[in-house]
């Protein structure tokens, strides 16, 4: 395959950036999107040029590090992670635009790499349970109803990639925050801190400068893990109930 990638190049946080076009001649349809960038980077390095900076780690869709907006969609045309996207999703001769996540709360560090620490601070505000650690408890020590376990697991699959924020026209982190809250709020172990968790996480989310949710649903369409919109509805309900009880 021959393709042209137009990649956002920005030397540093304060520098001006721009899309730069690169032609690639021998792209295999079986390459992942990141492998295609690797090939480009090898060429750039051999030519004495600065390689494209991009985030990646596991390359198997479980860590949430990879983060590029491809042709206007976070993680590209398939509902998966950038590392699990393959070049067979594109056609010979395509021009592909590659940009970083865009959100005030995610400043660009370099090229396609953005700072997503804001999501970590939301989790630090309540995305945990305050339990004494020690040896693992017996599996049946706290019975968990099956539907609650399913909801918790479904939401726990959120890898914190931030595609939801990148997709949202308001740069809102509601899908991420709601997944993190729903995961623990569904479980018996999460109940004692349910209200403070929701109030603190929402306060942290707002303090980071994310926008508000307008129930547009763009996030759901770009989430590689299929976190459902229902989690946002549940966060709204939990938040309003917790606020009433103050």
């Amino acid at each position: 395959m021959k393709i042209t990638v137009r990649i956002w190049r920005q030397a540093g946080p304060q520098e001006q950036g721009a899309l730069v076009a690169y032609d690639l001649d021998e792209v295999s349809p079986d390459m992942s999107f990141l492998e295609m960038l690797d090939v480009l980077n090898e060429r750039l390095i051999l030519g004495g040029q600065e390689p494209v900076a991009f985030d990646h780690d596991c390359r198997e869709g479980i860590c949430g590090a990879c983060s590029t907006v491809i042709n206007g969609r976070p993680h590209g045309p398939e509902q998966t992670t950038t590392c699990q996207l393959h070049m067979r999703s594109f056609s010979d001769g395509d021009v592909i635009d590659v940009e970083p996540w865009r959100s005030r709360a995610f400043p660009v560090i370099k090229d396609l790499v953005v700072d997503r620490a804001a999501l970590d601070r939301i989790v630090q505000a309540g995305g945990y349970i305050t339990a004494p650690t020690g040896t693992a408890p017996d599996a049946h020590a706290t019975p968990v109803p099956k539907p609650a376990a399913d909801t918790a697991f479904e939401n726990a699959t959120c890898i914190g990639c931030g595609a939801c924020v990148a997709a949202c026209p308001n740069g809102s982190a509601m899908l991420f925050t709601s997944a993190k809250a729903a995961h623990l709020n569904a479980l018996p172990q999460g109940q004692p801190e349910r209200e403070s968790r929701v109030l603190n996480m929402v306060a942290a989310m707002d303090a980071e400068g994310f926008g508000g949710c307008t129930n547009t649903g763009e996030c759901v369409g770009s989430c590689p893990k299929g976190i459902p919109f229902q989690s946002i509805v549940d966060l709204n309900r939990d938040f309003l109930r917790a606020a009433r009880r103050r």
């Binding site: 137009r6 042709n71 969609r73 109030l199 929402v202 989310m205 400068g209 994310f210 547009t216 509805v233």
Partner: protein, 237 residues
């Protein structure tokens, strides 16, 4: 079992918690919006009295001024209703403006490629449609309540004022467009408010909420449109 030992950042009251958060402000929009939808439904049904002739319609308008008597003095109910609606509208618009400004600031850079729009037309027009709705509301009050924008205003003849209005083509146009904007806003608004207030407990209910919202929007739109169409076709004269 775990205990909550976290020190909360600040001990806020319930009202402060709601007002300072994006979710809380959205909930204020949802409650005030639904209140206005309820009023619109009643208003629309009342308007349909016009098809029973001037006696019934003007009688109905006069009766509105007597609601609550003898406990309430003449037209007090109407003034209370107006005050409640005004507070609701001001709260709704204040939150809309504050949240919209915040939302825009949160996404300062657009994607060079542009994004596909997944959201429906109704969803994408909530902001500017809402502003158009606000302008229409002001015009509507100046026209049929205050009377300064009416072609031939008679303080005691609401039937006459309505008929006078819809003889003029551009007034018809303003009303038809205005009412369609209302319908569009309510179509997304009702469903959206249900999500904001967390009223959907199971995923399956989503379709029901959309259908109810759209049916409500359609009923309100058609009911309001019936009046200018009635005058235009000569059914009401």
């Amino acid at each position: 079992m775990a205990i909550d030992i976290r020190v909360r950042p600040a001990e806020l009251t319930a009202v402060q918690t709601v007002w300072r958060s994006t979710i809380g402000k959205k909930a204020v929009m949802a409650v005030t919006g639904l209140l206005m939808v309820a009023f619109l439904l009643a208003h629309m049904l009342g308007n349909l009295k016009i098809f029973f002739g001037p006696h019934d319609f003007d009688g109905y308008a006069a009766w509105l001024r007597t609601i609550g008597e003898p406990v309430l003095h003449g037209a007090w109910f109407l003034w209370i209703l107006r005050a409640v609606l005004l507070v609701a509208l001001v709260a709704h618009v204040t939150c809309a403006v504050q949240l919209s400004r915040r939302d825009r600031a949160a996404r300062p850079t657009r994607y060079a490629h542009g994004q596909r729009a997944r959201a429906s037309f109704a969803t994408r027009t909530m902001r500017w449609g809402g502003v158009a709705l606000g302008l229409f509301l002001i015009w509507h009050i100046l026209d049929l309540t205050v009377g300064v924008a009416n072609p031939d205003f008679d303080k005691n003849g609401p039937y006459h004022n309505v008929v006078a209005d819809f003889q003029v083509w551009w007034i018809n146009l303003i009303y038809v467009v205005g009412v369609l904007m209302v319908g569009l806003h309510v179509n997304h608004g009702f469903w959206s408010a249900a999500q904001t207030l967390g009223l959907r407990r199971r995923r399956g209910r989503d379709l029901t909420l959309r259908v109810v919202g759209s049916a409500l929007a359609a009923a309100i739109t058609l009911g309001f449109l019936a009046v200018p169409i009635g005058v235009m076709t000569g059914l009401v004269r």
